[in-house]
Amino acid sequence: MSRSIPTEDRISSLPDPILHHILSFLPTKFAATTTILSKRWNPLWLSVPTLNFDDTPFKDFISFRHFVSSVFLSRDINLPIQSFHLKCAKQHSNEHDINRFIYAAMQRGGIENLHLNMFGRLSLKVKLLTTIFSCKTLVVLHLRKVNLKDLSNVTVDLPRLKTLHLTRVLFERF
């Protein structure tokens, strides 16, 4: 049965920056589904300045890794990432890959919010450790179940940091 009264496109008449802001509250996997809504919506999710990766809906780490890699490849490399949320709860998560993802996000520049929520332990490799702890733009840092090795050898310089949450973080050889 067809609708006799055409529905006006309510949410799409909002300008792009507002749609980006709405999408920034949603997990990236969900935001990606908006790509199919219409031509206008198709590219929007890729320019959202927030990445929110949660491995919960994925059947294994490999499919999660595929998802994260696809997103990084699809995004404009010059687009800064303002917020990066990563939650990894899967068994057999690959530590090297996770370091790589975080590093890739940090490389884009301009990151203000970094949330790493690990369920298994994650050790941050030296290169990533250095990058995070000398990030000039970082305002909020949340680390959960992360190992920070040899932090004493790393220059800690976070001039804009306002909020720091460390939950079950292990400092080794500090």
């Binding site: 049965m1 067809s2 529905t7 006006e8 496109d9 309510r10 949410i11 799409s12 008449s13 909002l14 507002i18 802001h21 709405i22 999408l23 509250f25 949603l26 997990p27 996997k29 969900f30 990606a32 589904t33 908006t34 790509t35 199919i36 809504l37 219409s38 031509k39 919506w41 198709n42 919960t56 809906p57 994925f58 059947k59 499919s63 595929h66 998802f67 696809s70």
Partner: protein
Amino acid sequence: MASSSSNLISLKTSDGTVFKVERALAKTMKTVQAIIEEADANIYMIPIHNVFSHHMDMIIDYYKLSVAGKSKEFSVEKLDNDELKDFLLAVHYLNMEDLFEVLTQAVADRLEKKSVGYVRKYFGIENDFTPEEYAAIRKKNDWAFKGDDIEPEEDEEKQEE
């Protein structure tokens, strides 16, 4: 009633209602603040376009709750999607940071975990892809649509009610 006029700013909504609001509330509206600062003499009444009196009522509610430290009690649940969108546009126009965050989060909450079909119907977004384009995009982003974090796809065909 004699008002201590230096503490109150008069705002006139699109539907002609005049609200006398505290200067502190007007300060949370960056658009209004800019108008006040640009005015040479003391401005008597500031018209706020795209903002209706029912929007101002909610803005004042939110402000009162925030001042009392109860901003989390502010709810837009009773607004339907059109009303929420209009309110969001009004707050965006007024450039009110905190309330804007609250409203965009509210819209995101209404969208989360819903199937594409639901989102499209709910907000009336027209699918302007050809069936071939649609299938190609769906296939390319297949990983996004799988998993129990979103509702299963509704039948895209028109259904007999």
